[in-house]
């Protein structure tokens, strides 16, 4: 019995780490701009689609050359922009106005390199690491586009207006991803070990069954979560992000450039979406329903608090474990007691838990308490 309990718990916690990862994407943007980013799920789907299509083998008749030319051009420009940013950040801080020309040259070179890459890899089947790197670059570029085309025009606007803007971004991305990459179900092959592990065989009869793929995925997610938590709590940029979230005007007055901060945040949450898309895609296959994972993150956020990085982590673990445990142990009891047709607790338990939390701690486990002086 204890063995079965632990097994379920571990499985639940491993899934929970992945929930944390998705929730973290929300928290980052919420902290930095006070916006609930409805597009996070769409970003996960977009990233997963991009990786799947770049790394996957593609039948001849399915090749849409245009797709790859577009992708390669985007990739090239993105590489160039990142290179330019790194150059400016590390080599020539505060350099003169000829920066822009150098950036344009870099972009041209990047596009050329991208074009060559596209030509040689026109039929997909990129090595997985290259596909991931390319997708990271594309997510960075996406963040730049979102900042430049949408957010920049909405400085100092109400939160609800920014929220509506993210709704638009979500719809656009859902459609654009399918335009570019097609709407079939794709696979991502990360080459993770498939054979189940059995732990503590001498303690429990039969041992504890653990999926090594999930273990690796959880490890990656946990590492990412820790790095991000430190980055946002302890560094200058982290502090600048929190400042922007609290007050746009005041942040600008101490010399924090709003545009750069938003670019950083959206890039980071794009990368988080990439990690989530990669792991979920490898687990479930890449399909439209992946974008609904965003909804799984909602109870996690309510539980942990919208502004808390540790909250997202703990909330994810609680929801993950709670879901699995309720499905395995609570469901049979309920089914028996009320003569129900089936379990399915997994689907609504998280929301129930979140609802109960809302009653007692509206700000979440670790959220900032809202105190108003009247």
């Amino acid at each position: 019995m204890l063995g079965a309990f632990l097994e379920t718990l571990i499985g639940g916690l491993l899934t929970g780490v992945l929930y944390s990862l998705v929730a973290l994407g929300f928290v980052l943007i919420f902290k930095a701009s006070g916006v609930f980013n409805f597009a996070q799920g769409a970003m996960v789907l977009f990233a997963a689609l991009t990786i799947a299509r770049l790394s996957g083998e593609i039948d001849n008749k399915e090749v849409h050359l245009a797709n790859f030319v577009v992708a390669a051009a985007i990739l090239g420009v993105a590489v160039a922009l990142i290179g330019w940013y790194a150059w400016r950040e590390y080599v020539a801080r505060g350099a003169g106005p000829d920066e822009r020309r150098k950036m344009q040259m870099l972009a041209a070179v990047g596009a050329l390199v991208g074009g060559i890459a596209a030509y040689s890899y026109g039929k997909g089947a990129w090595p997985i690491w290259l596909a991931i790197a390319a997708t990271a670059a594309i997510m960075g570029l996406l963040a730049y586009a979102i900042e430049r085309l949408v957010l920049r025009h909405l400085v100092n606007q109400e939160g609800i207006i920014l929220f509506m803007a993210t709704l638009g971004i979500a719809n656009f991305l859902d459609g654009f991803g399918q335009t570019l990459w097609g709407s079939d179900i794709y696979k991502i092959n990360l080459g993770l070990p498939k054979d189940p592990l059995f732990l503590f065989e001498n303690v429990f009869p039969g041992g504890l069954l653990v999926d090594p793929g999930e273990l690796v995925a959880a490890g990656i997610a946990a590492g990412l979560v820790v790095v991000l938590a430190i980055f946002f709590q302890k560094t200058r940029v982290g502090r600048a992000l929190r400042a922007v979230a609290d007050d746009h005007a005041a942040a600008q007055s101490v010399g924090i450039p709003l545009n750069t901060i938003w670019l950083i945040v959206w890039t980071v949450s794009g990368l988080v979406a990439l990690a989530a898309g990669l792991i979920w895609g490898a687990k479930l296959g890449v399909q439209f329903s992946i974008s609904l994972i965003a909804l799984k993150a909602l109870p996690v956020l309510i539980l942990g608090g919208f502004t808390s990085v540790p909250g997202a982590i703990v909330g994810g673990l609680i929801i993950g474990a709670g879901e699995k445990l309720s499905e395995v142990f609570l469901a049979p009891v309920l089914v028996k007691a009320f003569d129900l047709a089936g379990g399915g607790i997994e689907n609504w338990f998280a929301y129930m838990l979140a609802l109960v939390f809302l009653l007692f701690r509206p700000q979440g486990l670790f959220g900032e308490r809202i105190i108003e002086r009247v």
Partner: protein, 263 residues
């Protein structure tokens, strides 16, 4: 109440023929004045005179339709707020604009933002240069905290502090940037006598000890006449007076704007 008479030879900032309007509403009309290096310059005027708009033009929140601002010898028609900050202009706000979720310490640390230069890479790792830099700047912030006598609220979330202390933290954040020009928008609004005296003392000390040029907006005439070297008076977006406190006090247009006259 003897006005202090000091002389300031160098001009730090000069405003030339600034006009600003929002749609059909003219907020500022053809305003020109200068701020000398090292002085305390006050902008006064009745409500709605355009005082805050003037400050917002100087630090780049508003972009005037006409005119130019020359700062440290560079003439420009507009500037972004973060560029103004990079050029050494810091400010406080009329309705306190603190980062409410953060502690006093973190709020003032954000003021050091521009003094910290390590790249993202080191910061992400939180080791090496990034950590050294964090410690150095933390020291500077502690000096400001001592100076403003707010040691006891160092870790308190600022959203919970009383009004007077919030104003002081906001001043601390502006000072943390070690500005050359400090813009204060009604630093003493809503304060009691004691808090006002404290704030006056801090403003004078900042000016004396660090040589910071200060431009402030204030309604309390006693305070303004006491601490400022020169005063510019606005009314309905137009300049109606400019000079040392005694001159301004005896200026008929100024008296009329404040007390009203029968025409």
């Amino acid at each position: 109440m003897a006005a202090r008479v000091r002389s300031f030879p160098d001009v730090l900032l000069s405003v030339e023929n600034i006009s600003l309007s929002f749609g059909g509403v003219k907020a500022l009309t053809d305003i020109s004045f200068d701020i000398a290096k090292g002085e305390i310059r006050a902008i006064i005027g009745p409500n709605g005179a355009g005082k805050s708009s003037m400050l917002n033009c100087i630090n780049g929140f508003y972009h005037p339709q006409q005119g130019a601002i020359t700062y440290k010898g560079v003439r420009r028609s507009q500037m972004k707020p973060h560029e103004a900050a990079e050029q050494g202009i810091a400010r406080t706000f009329q309705n306190i604009a603190l980062f409410r979720g953060m502690s006093t310490l973190d709020n003032i640390m954000t003021g050091r933002n521009l003094r910290m230069k390590t790249g993202l890479f080191w910061q992400a790792l939180h080791i090496g240069p990034a950590q050294r830099e964090e410690i150095e700047n933390r020291k500077a912030v502690e000096r400001i905290i001592d100076f403003l006598e707010i040691q006891h609220i160092r870790k308190a979330p600022v959203g919970q502090l009383p009004y007077g202390l919030q104003k002081r933290v906001e001043l601390g954040r502006a000072l943390a940037a070690e500005p050359e020009l400090l813009l204060l928008d009604e630093p003493m609004a809503g304060m009691n006598i004691e808090e006002k005296q404290d704030m006056c003392r801090f403003i004078l000390d900042v000016n004396d000890e660090f040589g910071t040029t200060i431009c402030l907006i204030e309604h309390d005439m006693g305070v303004v006449m006491d601490i400022s070297d020169r005063v510019v008076v606005l009314d309905y977006g137009k300049k109606i007076g400019d000079g040392v406190p005694d001159e301004v006090r005896s200026n008929e247009a100024v008296v009329a704007a404040y007390l009203g006259v029968s025409h």
